[in-house]
């Protein structure tokens, strides 16, 4: 049993970083992720970490420095949010293409315009095709546990990982969490032995060489395979984490789903609010359940399909809209995963919480009521719905 303390999501992530004690952290501050780096810089100045800390002049530079650092074989981390992640976008693809196991602590925040500092998932959803593993956290405890696991996942899959928390709701909300003793974190993540490094004089290598039409496709095909294989690696790391620290994580969490007739699919902090509604509905005899996606990249479509196949009415909640006119990205992928089932479930989409709009209990209840309505009438009135927006 570790130490129980009250921490904000940002404090929890910074604490995990202190325990991980990465070789290099290069970062640039941005609301609401600033505190992570600020607290970590405090650890550095207090001599609590051995990390080389690089304060860069932009997020683009921060991730560029991380890429250089990781290429030279250093365990490397950074933190960012929102516009910061967008400014990193060019380098995100380079990090993953070079197969560098960088870890980002990412705080979900809406993207301008209009300018807004509050939570939605537009920032990381915009990076969903960048070849980074994405792990979403419901609360400060999950953020802390996920960040520690991310180091192992990144280094075994040789893919970069971003671990996300919901801006302000989790980043600035203080909750009870259990902190694992320093030595046990150290033992769990182990020593990093990079497979390739630019600084190995005995085995010189080239990174970042050009591919023409002859090899580019093959290298991308490898990366696709690495992302597929990452799923098993994430499961392995989660199992070992559970055996050591008694907290069980999978690709997604099923909450009262076994015999559910109505299910919500959601990512992040709203998962916790949905659990309260599910419990209430179950007391009233309504067979409600929740599937909370933890790992969105790689997308565990096969497992999700197997789990949701027997649930006739499903609402997928998206905290971002793809602005494609076909709803949010989670909806599109879940619905696509279910396509090959002969008697496939009815799946509808709810866009919610954009720009930090509070998603209250009655909103979640409304979604379950809508699903029950479809059950009664057999008719879907709205495929894509907007939860909590003023008409």
């Amino acid at each position: 049993m570790g130490k129980i303390s009250a921490k904000t999501g940002n404090e929890a992530m910074a604490e995990a970083m202190r325990q991980i004690n990465p070789d290099v952290v290069a970062a640039y501050p941005i609301t609401p992720a600033t505190e992570i780096v600020q607290i970590f810089a405090g650890f550095k100045s207090d001599g609590l970490v051995d990390t080389e800390f690089i304060a860069t002049e932009s997020e683009h530079s921060a991730l560029s420095a991380c890429i250089g650092s990781a290429a030279s074989g250093a365990r490397t981390m950074t933190a960012t949010a929102s516009q910061g992640l967008v400014l990193m976008q060019e380098m995100l693809y380079i990090a993953s293409g070079l197969r560098l196991p960088i870890v980002i602590a990412e705080v979900n925040r809406a993207l301008s315009s209009p300018i807004n500092i509050h939570c939605d998932h537009s920032d990381t959803m915009g990076a969903r095709d960048s070849g980074w593993i994405q792990i979403y956290s419901e609360n400060a405890q999950e953020a802390y546990d996920n960040l520690i696991q991310a180091v192992r996942i990144a280094e075994s899959a040789l893919l970069p990982v971003m671990v996300t928390i919901d801006g302000f709701i989790i980043s600035h909300g203080m909750e009870r969490i259990e902190i694992i003793p320093d030595e046990e974190v150290k033992g769990f993540i182990g020593e990093y032995r990079p497979r390739y490094t630019l600084l190995d004089e005995e085995r010189s290598i080239t990174m970042g060489a050009i591919d023409f039409t002859d090899y580019f496709f093959e290298h991308k095909r490898q990366q696709i395979e690495a992302m597929k294989e990452a799923k098993e690696k994430i499961i392995e790391v989660s199992k070992e984490f559970n055996s050591r620290f008694k907290r069980d994580y999978g690709l997604f969490e099923c909450y009262r789903l076994e015999d559910a007739r109505y299910a919500l699919v959601v990512l992040g902090s709203t998962g916790g609010t949905v659990k309260v509604v599910v419990d209430e509905l179950r007391e009233d005899g309504v067979k409600a359940g929740l599937l909370k996606v933890r790992v969105f990249r790689p997308f565990p479509w096969q497992e999700i399909k197997d789990t949701l196949a027997y649930i006739p009415f499903i609402a997928v909640m998206d905290r971002s809209d793809g602005l494609s006119s076909l709803g949010g990205p989670v909806f599109q992928e879940i619905r696509s995963a279910l396509y090959d089932i002969d008697s496939r479930p009815k799946v509808i989409n709810y866009i919610y919480g954009l720009g930090g709009r509070d998603t209250k209990l009655h909103h979640i209840k409304q979604v379950f009521q809508d699903l029950q309505g479809i059950d009664r009438t057999g008719r879907i009135d709205g495929l894509i719905n907007y939860l909590g927006v003023r008409e």
């Binding site: 129980i4 303390s5 009250a6 500092i117 509050h118 419901e138 609360n139 919901d166 302000f168 709701i169 989790i170 600035h172 909300g173 203080m174 909750e175 009870r176 902090s269 709203t270 998962g271 916790g272 609010t273 659990k275 309260v276 509070d358 998603t359 209250k360 209990l361």
Partner: protein
């Protein structure tokens, strides 16, 4: 204690509504409770009305929405009573605790509140006399634990001392001032 207690703090930017919620959560944690403390973030200006929140329970708390129906409302600045609907959503058996030199009955009339319980404490005067400046958040903590009984006073004092020792390394006199402020407010809070 009820299954889930929700507290809403009203203050003005700079008065320490957020810090009070954090201190209270930390102390409740020491009592073995599950806790949440979170501020409402808007444009952050000194003097603007701000809110922060606590949730306390004996079981894990998974709610991550705003607090709509608080069991307790704490008002750090009585001038807010005229510009903010501080009793909005306050539950039937809820508590309103206000920093004021007035008596509870006067506050009840001012906010036109029926039922529920009203308490007052002159936290600003206590703060000036113990800490040397008007920072009402710590004395309000003392009053809060008296009227709710959620947390043990001695534990609260220990936790506050520990937290403040980190924050005020160079100003030890502030730590004793804050501790005395909590004790006095605990004793001086008035009910109806």
């Amino acid at each position: 204690m009820k299954e889930l207690v929700e507290i809403r703090w009203h203050g003005r930017g700079g008065q320490g509504a957020k810090t009070a919620a954090l201190l209270f959560a930390d102390a409740a944690l020491g009592e073995g409770k599950y806790v949440q403390a979170f501020p409402e973030y808007g444009p952050e200006r000194m003097g603007a009305p701000v809110q922060s929140f606590n949730r306390l329970s004996d079981r894990p708390i998974t709610l991550h929405c705003g607090v709509e129906e608080p069991s307790v409302v704490v008002v750090l600045d009585e001038t807010l009573l005229e510009i903010v609907d501080v009793v909005r959503g306050l539950v039937e058996d809820g508590i309103l605790l206000v920093n004021t030199s007035e008596i509870p009955q006067a506050i009840r009339r001012k906010v036109r509140l029926e039922g529920r319980k009203v308490f007052t404490v002159d936290a600003s005067t206590i703060s000036r006399e113990t800490i040397g400046q008007d920072i009402p958040n710590t004395p309000m903590l003392g009053a809060l634990i008296k009227v709710t009984g959620f947390i043990n006073l001695e534990r609260m004092l220990d936790d506050t001392r520990r937290r403040l020792e980190k924050k005020f390394k160079s100003k030890p006199e502030l730590i004793d001032g804050n501790i005395n402020a909590i004790k006095r407010a605990y004793q001086e809070v008035k009910g109806e």
